[in-house]
Symmetry: C2
Subunit: 283 residues, 2 copies
Amino acid sequence: MSLVVVHTLPELREVVASWRREQLRIAVAPTMGALHEALARADRVVATIFINPKQFDNAADLAGYPRTYESDVEQLARAGAHLLYAPDAAQMYPAGFATTISVRGVSEGLCGTFRPGHFDGVATVVAKLFLQTGADLAFFGEKDFQQLKVVRRMAADLDIPTRVIGCPTVREADGLAMSSRNARLTPAERGAAPNLAATLFAIAERLSAGDAAPSAIARGVADIRAAGFREVEYLELRAEEDLRPLQTLDRPARLLVAAWLGDTRLIDNVEVLLRGRAVAASE
Amino acid sequence: MSLVVVHTLPELREVVASWRREQLRIAVAPTMGALHEALARADRVVATIFINPKQFDNAADLAGYPRTYESDVEQLARAGAHLLYAPDAAQMYPAGFATTISVRGVSEGLCGTFRPGHFDGVATVVAKLFLQTGADLAFFGEKDFQQLKVVRRMAADLDIPTRVIGCPTVREADGLAMSSRNARLTPAERGAAPNLAATLFAIAERLSAGDAAPSAIARGVADIRAAGFREVEYLELRAEEDLRPLQTLDRPARLLVAAWLGDTRLIDNVEVLLRGRAVAASE
């Protein structure tokens, strides 16, 4: 089967309806990192490419976001995706569009603080993608852990029957979490970037071994700055389940970070186990 | 077929899935007034009874809202509804529920001003009902005209495949729009209540005949007060299409009112034709 590309909702619905009639299990994979997992667990996979203007809190970030349509299509075809849905903004938000979905709790703090409106944009467009595709399953990378939590909460709260599945973060050999933003790094920045993940793993290990969170985290922030990051937006310990801020490691947790390397904002997170070694989500 | 009553989402989904397998056309009718229209236009009709705490901006209004479950069930059965879905608040909003749907534009002004948060509550619970029932059609009374517009906008914007159909306002012989709130009126108030509709029809007729909107509306407000209403929250001319406020009757329009008769808030609206006689939506 070769990759079919559609740009409009009626075309998308037609293809999906034909799969439905064959009683196939349908997945949507809105990010490249979730594609392989989706292909392994569903009969048909809809990949999506949509640069969502509502997710960008500032115009410069939107304008600078890497647009790699041609190479993405090639990658999707090679990987075996069945359908690419690539609507434009007018298709997703026709004139008169006026609806916003907001999720409290899991969207607060972390990236929610530094990117105002971002998670409203995510929740709204993802609800639309779920309802447009009618997918049984949806795959999201754990790299955007807060996004995964927001999307899962939204789908459960609105009774959207799409099951949201998190995919372990895919990392380069040196530990850097894969992201389209990595392409923006200068060679020197690319060299420094893996220190972000390395610091996360080290701090998570200290926390699991019993170190107090405030001091371990302060040390992590210092280490990230020392590695050449110009700003650490946050480095926080949060509950795995509902992302509530934790002062002490009294339940399964995540350590999440956002930091600027030159003009590029990188995010990452790792699981923090209650006992024993900290283990990356991808292990 | 007799009325089946379910209180939980799994039970609802089971019944609806069996209808789906028979390829029946399914409607949801969240208000009694929309039931007959729904029965006439679908193979199976899900009626719902849910006093939505999120729709009430104040606790007294929620506590005082007429609860007539027993007689509603009887009426639904007699009318021929196929299924009653009557979840409780814990079923609709389990612990951890955190999602809100907001619709700009059509939700602004009118009842949106006087009942803060009301239309967020409406949009959120109706999205859930649409997704829970998977209905092909949904019927809403035009009596709550702004609600109808909010619901239609929400469903279109989120690509929910349920088609929203407005049902003409059902009126008592003396013109009073039917509403569960009418049961709260004292006999004296019930006698005065039809003046609300009568004033709307009279003002709509003047507007269609060419009277200037501001003076016609000022006269309407005076007439409603003279009839014994203690407060007129609003009496406004709005565009039929998108509810934008109109200063002059330059397109198809609605005249909408909310006013207090003693402790009861009544709302109503009528179509305002561009030319000729004003015609009630129900004619």
